[in-house]
């Protein structure tokens, strides 16, 4: 730009000023549109006699929920039912992500196995599970599980303390007596010390090149600390055993079949996608890397751990994040098989009883958005951490 005179025509035809002007106009129109929509919706709601606002959250919900991780009864509020649903969603998503990651990595690595049978089996797994709609898989596992399991009176049992029937899996519930906290403290202490050892060994290795068996020493620490603290406090842990009473087992911890089937279906389905992500990641590391590592004298285990996986992870993590997000969102199919997640409890029962669709759907969308953003943030941090290892 040669001419710096601030004449009117210069301002009018200045590209960047024009740009700013149009952006302000667009922004203004968008804001107007939002105001208009909100106002119009509010008017329509009044005209149709629909209740609005958030005070319903403090009203008694008056319905029961099958599985609650916090104290909940029909006299609890709609807000409590929101929290119950949210925690149930987090539980199934967390379990699903955990299992899907393990299975997905295993299948993805198996897919590259030099063993023909293993590779083909992994390929078949991926192709079949990826191509059947998830909802069908959820129904399949749910009704397959239900049909295969016996009635409560004919429960499968193990050691008189584990019971399995079509109402769920019942396991003893550990109850910590006096001194129980000490066990928890020593557990935490062992973890902290292990982290210290890992840092120290890394520094020592950088200085002297000597390595230290961090993994095995940490395991040893953990077991001995917990055991010693139990010994010191005189084993204050008792168990609440499940017992058959009337229709079903009472006491202990109960895993409902809906949770099991949903976790299974979600993780098996997502694992098939993760397997492909893992395979692509491993194949993205060129063969030369392996050869170079081998010529440096690293053993196959070290090659995988120190050379291939760190480089593959950089390729794997972004699409893996996508799969985690998908799994979390897919968990909203829970309503089909009666798993009381956020959508079933809050966007289902609570919405039907209050009729406050806009508020409730807004809150539920907010939750899924928040969960997705949190997952992305964590995975981005992880990705950045991985990149530091780059030299």
């Amino acid at each position: 730009m040669q001419d710096r005179n601030l004449s009117l025509s210069n301002i009018l035809f200045n590209r960047s000023i024009q740009g700013i002007f149009y952006q302000i106009v667009t922004l203004g129109l968008v804001i107007l549109a939002i105001i208009y929509i909100v106002d119009n919706t509010a008017r329509n709601m009044v005209a149709r006699g629909l209740a609005s606002g958030f005070h319903f959250l403090g009203v008694e919900a008056q319905f029961d929920i099958q599985m609650t991780l916090i104290e909940y009864s029909p006299t609890s509020t709609y807000f409590d039912s929101f929290i119950v649903g949210l925690l149930n969603t987090l539980l199934v998503a967390g379990l699903g992500i955990f299992v899907a990651t393990i299975v997905g990595f295993a299948v993805g690595i198996a897919r590259l196995s030099p063993n023909w049978l293993i590779a083909k089996l992994a390929e078949a797994y991926i192709e079949i599970l990826r191509n059947i709609p998830l909802l069908l898989q959820i129904f399949f596992w749910y009704f397959a599980v239900l049909r295969a399991l016996p009635k409560p009176k004919q429960s499968l049992e193990f050691a008189d303390s584990f019971f399995l029937n079509n109402r769920g899996l019942f396991i003893p519930d550990p109850v910590f007596g006096e001194g129980g906290v000490l066990i928890l403290y020593s557990f935490i202490a062992a973890i902290l010390i292990s982290i210290g050892i890992a840092v120290w060994s890394k520094q020592r290795q950088n200085k002297t090149g000597q390595t230290f068996p961090v993994f095995y020493s940490s395991i040893g620490l953990l077991i001995s600390f917990v055991f010693l603290s139990m010994l010191a406090t005189g084993f204050p842990v008792t168990f609440d055993y499940p017992e058959l009473k009337g229709f079903n087992f009472k006491g202990g911890i109960k895993l409902i079949p809906e949770l099991v089937a949903l976790t299974f279906a979600l993780s098996m389905y997502t694992a098939s996608f993760i397997a492909e992500v893992v395979r692509a990641g491993i194949q993205a590391v060129s063969l030369g890397q392996t050869e170079a590592a081998r010529s440096l004298g690293l053993n196959p285990n070290q090659i995988l751990r120190l050379v291939i996986i760190p480089q593959a992870l950089r390729v794997i993590v972004p699409p893996l994040t996508n799969q985690y997000l998908n799994l979390t969102k897919n968990s909203s199919l829970a309503a089909a098989i009666a798993y009381p997640d956020l959508v079933l409890v809050f966007a289902g029962t609570a919405l039907m009883q209050t009729g406050q669709a806009i508020e409730i759907i807004g809150m539920v969308m907010g939750v899924y958005l928040f969960l997705s953003l949190m997952t992305s943030i964590i995975m981005n941090l992880f990705n950045r951490f991985m990149r530091v290892a780059e030299r």
């Binding site: 667009t26 079509n166 109402r167 229709f247 098989i337 289902g348 919405l351």
Partner: protein, 341 residues
């Protein structure tokens, strides 16, 4: 680029403007030549499709009556199958014009959710079904039971009330779709299946072995089921309300589907003459033709006709009318229609 963005924006805005304006439902319906009636996804006797997709049932007959009143034929209806959870949103959003799907009239639905109930076409109450071999004979023996039911229903609330009031515990297993409830109960996931007793009688026909189940004697709630319309269009609500009332009053005065034509030709009774559309100007009051109620009775039937044809003792659903609240008030029931005059 920017021009295009602006065009899109204004298109979106105009969309909201259009949806803000509401024409009267009757005019819209007359204009398009049919109306949309929300029904269940299949409850035999109430609203159920056959293999050709033809709907029948006592709830469907309410839709057919409204169609007969407006168009002179019962067939100008488009049926929209809905789950319990979807039904109110479908009505509020305008996807359907009448909801006739075993829906209970309650205060919160009437006052809070923006619905208007047009009457009651079936008086019901909630019950429990169990397997006969379970040996259970009373709902009071259900402490600790797993209970299967539908999402978004009064059933969910009533069972919470019932178990709480009687100091019993239970495990609610709540499905979105009715078929999954039936399947899960059939597979043994639950000890009992609870819903409206009419629903139990109807859904029972879908079980693998219907005779291996019994309905317990207790009725734990009041479930007046009836057609619903959007709040805010009183004229439309009137048409639905009086279509139902005409069927009930026709039965009271002995005007039925088979003999409507001959009775109307000879009647000397002023009430009957009004129902026949020969006197009184009811049609004009509702913005309908004079023969609106005659068309309902001669083509769909009176209340007794539609009851016996769909859910009566001789049907697979088999709900005897005598002695039930659905009998006419003259026979000890509570079925009573205000006078159509």
């Amino acid at each position: 680029m920017i021009i295009r963005k602006l065009t899109i924006l204004s298109a979106i805005i105009s969309l909201f403007t259009v949806s803000a304006a509401t024409a009267g439902t009757l005019d819209t319906v007359k204009g398009q030549g049919f109306f949309n009636c929300g029904v269940s996804q299949g409850v035999p006797g109430f609203s159920n499709p056959d293999s050709d997709g033809n709907w029948s049932g006592i709830d469907v007959d309410v839709c057919r009556a409204v169609s007969a009143a407006i168009f002179g034929t019962p067939d100008n209806v488009k049926y929209v199958p809905l789950t319990a959870k979807e039904r109110f949103t479908a009505l509020q959003s305008g996807e359907i014009d009448v909801l006739s799907r075993n829906t209970t009239w309650t205060l919160s639905r009437d006052a809070q959710i923006g619905l208007e109930f047009a009457g009651v076409n079936f008086y019901d109450g909630q019950g429990f079904m169990v397997r006969s071999d379970s040996g259970i004979t009373s709902a009071m023996e259900l402490d600790g039971a797993s209970v299967c039911t539908n999402l978004g229903t009064t059933t969910e609330l009533n069972m919470a009330d019932f178990f709480r009031a009687n100091g019993m515990s239970y495990e609610p297993v709540v499905f979105e779709k009715a078929d999954e409830v039936v399947n899960a109960y059939d597979e043994g996931r639950c000890d009992t299946y609870t819903t409206d007793k009419s629903g139990l009688a109807a859904q029972r026909t879908k079980l693998a072995d219907p005779d291996a189940h019994v309905v317990l004697p207790e009725t734990i709630s009041k479930e007046p089921l009836g057609p619903v319309v959007r709040e805010g269009d009183g004229d439309w609500a009137d048409i639905v309300r009086w279509s139902l009332n005409a069927m009930i009053e026709a039965e009271e005065f002995g005007l039925d589907k088979g003999s409507a034509s001959s009775t109307c030709a000879t009647t000397g009774n002023p009430v009957v003459a009004r129902l026949c559309g020969k006197e009184g100007g009811n049609g004009a009051a509702l913005n309908l033709g004079d023969s609106w109620s005659f068309d309902i009775i001669s083509q769909v039937g009176n209340y007794g006709d539609i009851y016996e044809a769909n859910v009566g003792a001789s049907t697979p659903v088999g709900l005897a009318r005598a002695g039930s609240p659905n009998a006419s008030y003259k026979n000890g029931g509570v079925l009573y229609a205000p006078p159509a005059r």
